[in-house]
Structure formats: C-alpha cells, structure tokens
C-alpha cells in the first residue's frame, strides 16, 4: 500500500507535464482513495544586475479519501412469456466510486411478477436477506462490477402488460450513495381460443317455421384480452340454415373476452323439411383478433327425426282372440270384431292422429272399445272415427269395432 502511494506521488510529480496531453476523454475515473496529491510549485527570479538565483520550490499535499459511487443498470425491457416461471433478469452494479465498496440491495416489483430467488455468480439465494448477507462480504473494487440476477415468475393473463422491477443499490461505506435501475417486464402476447361443445347429437324435427337455439361457449385461453371474430355455419347435410348469431341476423359476430374468461354465443337455426335420419351440424368458429391463425370451432350434430304412422286392421271372432283368416267363414247374425292398430314407426312423436273407417255395407255397427283411455271414438252413418292427441315414437295403440254380419 505504501509502495503504491509512493509510486502515485512520484507519478504525480513526473507525469504531470505529460498527463492529459491530447486527451479528449469525456469520461473521467475518480482519483483513487488513498492517493496523495502533491502540488509542487517553483519560483524563479533575477535581480537588477541579472544575477542568477537558484529556483525555489514548495509543496502542499492532500490525501484523497473515499467517496462511494454504486451505479445500477439493467435492460430497459424484457419480454418473457405469461404465465412462466424461472425467468432471469440481471442487474449490474458498477462501483464508480474511488475505492473498494460493497452494497446492499432492495427490490420493488409491480403486480403480475413475483421474485422467487436471486443468483450471484454460481450462488443461489431464496431470500433477499440471504442475498444481502452474501453481498456484505463481496467487496467490489473501484471500476469493477457485480451482477445480481433475479429469478421470477410471471402470472397468467399478463400478455402486453407492463410490470416494472426496480433494484436499489446502496453503498455500505460512507460517505455513501444509492442508485436505482428499473426494467419493464412486458410479457409477449400469446393468443388462444377454445369453443365448446365439440360434439353431441340433438334430434330435431323439420322446423316448419320453428327456430332452434344452440348455445356455444367461447373461452379466451390466451394471456391477453382479445376480440374474436365469430362465424356460424351448417355442416354438409343440407338441412341446417343459420338464422342469427347473438341476436344479429346473419352468420357473423364478434366477442371481446378477457384473458381466462369466457362468454356464451347463441346461434339460432332452422331445419329444412328433409327425410328423417338426415345428419347435419351447427358450427361456430371463433378467430383471434390478435393472431389470425389462432382459431377454434365448436359443433353439435343434428339428426332429423319425423313421425311415421302405420296402421293395421284385423278381424277377430267376438272373443277378440281367434283371428278370422282368409279361408274362414262368418255367418249372418254373427258378431265379429275389427281391431285397428296404429303404430308410430318414426323417431318423433305424432300429434293429432286420426283414423277413419267407413264400415262395409254387409255389417251393422254395434259398439267400440279401446286399449286404454285416450281414444276419442265416434260412429256416424256407418263410419267410425278414432283419434289420439298424440302417439309417441315407437308407440302402438288400438281400438275395437264390434259389428254384426247382416
């Protein structure tokens, strides 16, 4: 140390005439702590007779003390993903003071970012207290620097949102000073969408004027708010026609959804007068306004059903049990019974089923009876009518007409 001081002092005397010549350096380095600045002046003179006199010299020395100068720096912006973990952000602390120093640090973090740890070189610390305990033992020579790396997580839904992270570095020596540096964490926006349902089958009668409703759910699975373009469409079955989306006529629409949120979209459609068993679909496609290649669709299968009535008329002996076949004979005055059975072979309920049976001239109407309540049966001028308000799919009903052979 003493040798260095002597060299510095000597350098001050010898190098001063040559120092700073032609130098255009704008950046200065501070005079080192412990430097002895020795100022030596020389006086020369002569007298009236121009006699020569020895020059006289004198000096004054000043010793330089310590002045701190921690300087914190960090990138202006970083762009991690959201959500994400294990991100690293480096803060460099440079000692621009004039002697060795160590620092203590503090951090402030905005919403959306959480610090989970710190690293310095190969050392990892889980708390700020541990980091600062370590830094207390790390002397940074004047002009050198140390880098503190912060390990952090980013919350979901932070795409495009700015979170400032600030370090404050304070020198431990006195007279001390402090410096701060802020990095803005701005996660990259990533779009995502999910439309449901994605399947399932619904049976529909041909509309005949009725409008059907299908509700879809559109979910924003991206990390920032997004305005989605909606498009409703039918499948290739030529049965479904789209009427409106969210109440607006046509097939288009839009929805703005916050990250992680969802909204329902109501699609109104009709089914054409097509054969039972026809298959089609109702679809809804949602496309991100942020990223046109981010799109998803939901759909439901439509199966067309109809009612299909078949009828059978059979003749029985009066015991309602013995069938009268083609080779059997009935005798005048004999009582026989006709059984009329209606069956709905279709997939849809039939409404207002009506049977009309004009009896043959060779028989006289006697009476009717039915399999169960629900039939409205009447006879007028030899014609029997029977009606049901409804006949469920696959159901079968019958009634008897008792007649007497003339």
């Amino acid at each position: 140390m003493r040798q260095t001081l002597r060299r510095v002092a000597l350098a001050g005397l010898l190098m001063a005439p040559f120092a700073l010549v032609g130098g255009a350096a704008a950046a200065q380095t501070p005079t080192a702590e412990g430097t002895v600045i020795t100022n030596t002046a020389t006086a020369s003179y002569t007298d009236a007779n121009n006699n020569t006199y020895t020059n006289v010299t004198a000096s004054a020395s000043v010793t330089v003390g310590f002045l701190a100068g921690p300087d914190a720096s960090s990138p202006a912006t970083v762009t991690p993903a959201s959500p994400s973990t294990g991100n690293e952000l480096g803060f460099t602390i440079t000692n621009t003071g004039n002697g060795v120093d160590s620092v203590s640090t503090a951090f402030t973090v905005g919403t959306g970012v959480t610090i989970t740890g710190y690293k310095v070189g190969g050392n990892t610390f889980s708390t700020l207290a541990e980091l600062n305990t370590f830094l207390a033992g790390q002397g940074i020579p004047a002009g050198s620097s140390i880098t503190v790396t912060v390990v952090y997580t980013v919350a979901p839904g932070r795409g495009g949102q700015t979170t400032p992270v600030t370090i404050t570095a304070t020198s431990r020596r006195t007279p001390g000073s402090t410096d701060a540096s802020t990095t803005n964490v701005i996660p990259t926006v990533s779009a995502g969408v999910n439309v449901t349902p994605d399947g399932g089958t619904i049976q529909r009668l041909p509309s005949n004027g009725t409008q059907y409703t299908q509700v879809f759910t559109v979910q924003n699975t991206g990390n920032a708010s997004d305005t989605y373009t909606l498009a409703a469409s039918a499948g290739s079955g030529a049965a479904v026609s789209i009427v409106s989306v969210n109440g607006t006529a046509g097939t288009g629409g839009s929805a703005t959804i916050a990250s992680g949120g969802s909204t329902t979209v109501t699609v109104v459609y009709t089914v054409a007068n097509v054969a039972a068993g026809t298959s089609d679909q109702v679809r809804l496609t949602a496309t991100s306004g942020t990223n046109a290649s981010t799109t998803d669709n939901g759909f439901v299968n439509i199966q067309v059903i109809r009612a299909a009535i078949t009828m059978v008329k059979e003749a029985f002996r009066d015991n309602q049990t013995t069938a009268i076949g083609a080779s059997d004979r009935v005798l005048p005055g004999e009582y026989i019974q006709y059984r009329i059975t209606v069956t709905n072979a279709g997939g849809a309920q039939a409404n207002t089923v009506s049977v009309s049976d004009p009896l043959p001239a060779q028989v006289t109407y006697v009476s009717t009876s039915s399999d169960a309540a629900g039939w409205t049966i009447a006879e007028s001028a030899g014609t029997v009518t029977g009606s049901l308000t409804s006949l469920a799919a696959s159901a079968s009903r019958y009634f008897w007409i008792r007649v007497r052979i003339k």
Binding site: A19, A26, V62
Partner: protein, 174 residues
C-alpha cells in the same frame, strides 16, 4: 570580552551567511491547499469526520512568494504543474498583483499562452478552438515589475479532484 563579542558576532554572521540558500528555500515560497468544498459543508453545518479530499472536491492552491533577498528582485515567475488527480478549474487563477500576467500550458509545459488553442475536426471540418481549461497541464504567473525586499506575491487557483462521469446521490456519512 571584545574578542568574545566579536566571535559570537562572527559566528552569527557566519550562520546567517552560511545558510542563505536554506533560508530562501524555507521562506521564499509557500504553497498551501484548502479544501473549499469541505469548508462550505462545514459552514452549512455538515462538518466532515475526516480531513481527506474526495472526488469532486475543489482545492484552492495558494502560492506565496516572498523576496527574502536584501535587494529588489525582478522577473518573478511562479510556475505550477497541475498534479495528477486534479483538474484545473477554468477562470480560477487570480493574483492581487496588477502587473502579473497568467499563462497556461496544455501541452505539458512546452508552450504557454493566455488561452491555449488546439486543432480539432468538428462535423468533418478542421477548426481551431480553445483547449478546455480542465486539460491545462501548467499554470504560470509572471510578475512584470520589481519586487522590493520583503514584498510578497500571492497567486491562487482552484483545482477539482477528479470525479467519475456520473454524480451519485449521496445517502449518508460525512
């Protein structure tokens, strides 16, 4: 008695005559340094805990020359190379002598002038411009007139202890 007196007198004269050069070195020139920044802080109630200079401090150097010869002297020149570690504060050179002129060197003492100039290229054009005062390497006063025996010349200038490029925010400690 007379012999003793003469011996003592002769011894005294010899002592004075034998050390004229030393007497001149000891008194002819005195250089002092005063930390103006620390003094201002003390005036403002912030006395420092040590007497060291810090980067950025302004030191006021005072050169006091005294004519210790029995006769008048002429051509008194006070020359001061700027020591390493400090930079000249422009416009700070002063003396109470009306017949003293101050000159500076920015080329290590080879040439002196009232305002050293340099060649430079600015925006692609060659220009001649004053050298910034902080790059002066020497300051020199030359007294025009004669100095009577016992008369003094006092010259002063300020120099700033080199600091870093950025000024830190001082937090504490004196």
């Amino acid at each position: 008695m007379k012999t003793l007196f003469r011996t003592v007198l002769f011894a005294l004269l010899l002592a004075v005559a034998a050390t004229p050069a030393v007497a001149q070195q000891r008194q002819a020139l005195v250089v002092t340094a005063q930390n103006r920044t620390a003094a201002a802080e003390q005036t403002a109630g912030r006395k420092r805990s040590d007497d060291r200079a810090r980067p950025g401090d302004v030191l006021r150097y005072r050169l006091t020359f005294t004519n210790v010869t029995p006769g008048a002297v002429r051509g008194v020149t006070l020359a001061n190379p700027l020591p390493a570690g400090v930079r000249f504060v422009g416009g700070s050179a002063r003396t109470e002598r009306g017949d003293a002129r101050v000159e500076y060197s920015a080329d290590g003492g080879r040439t002196f002038s009232a305002q050293p100039m340099e060649e430079a290229v600015v925006d692609g054009r060659a220009v001649t411009r004053p050298v910034p005062a902080e790059r002066y390497t020497h300051v020199r006063w030359t007294v025009g007139g004669a100095l009577a025996p016992g008369a003094t010349v006092v010259a002063e200038y300020d120099a700033r202890v080199s600091a870093g490029s950025q000024a830190p925010a001082v937090t504490g400690g004196r």
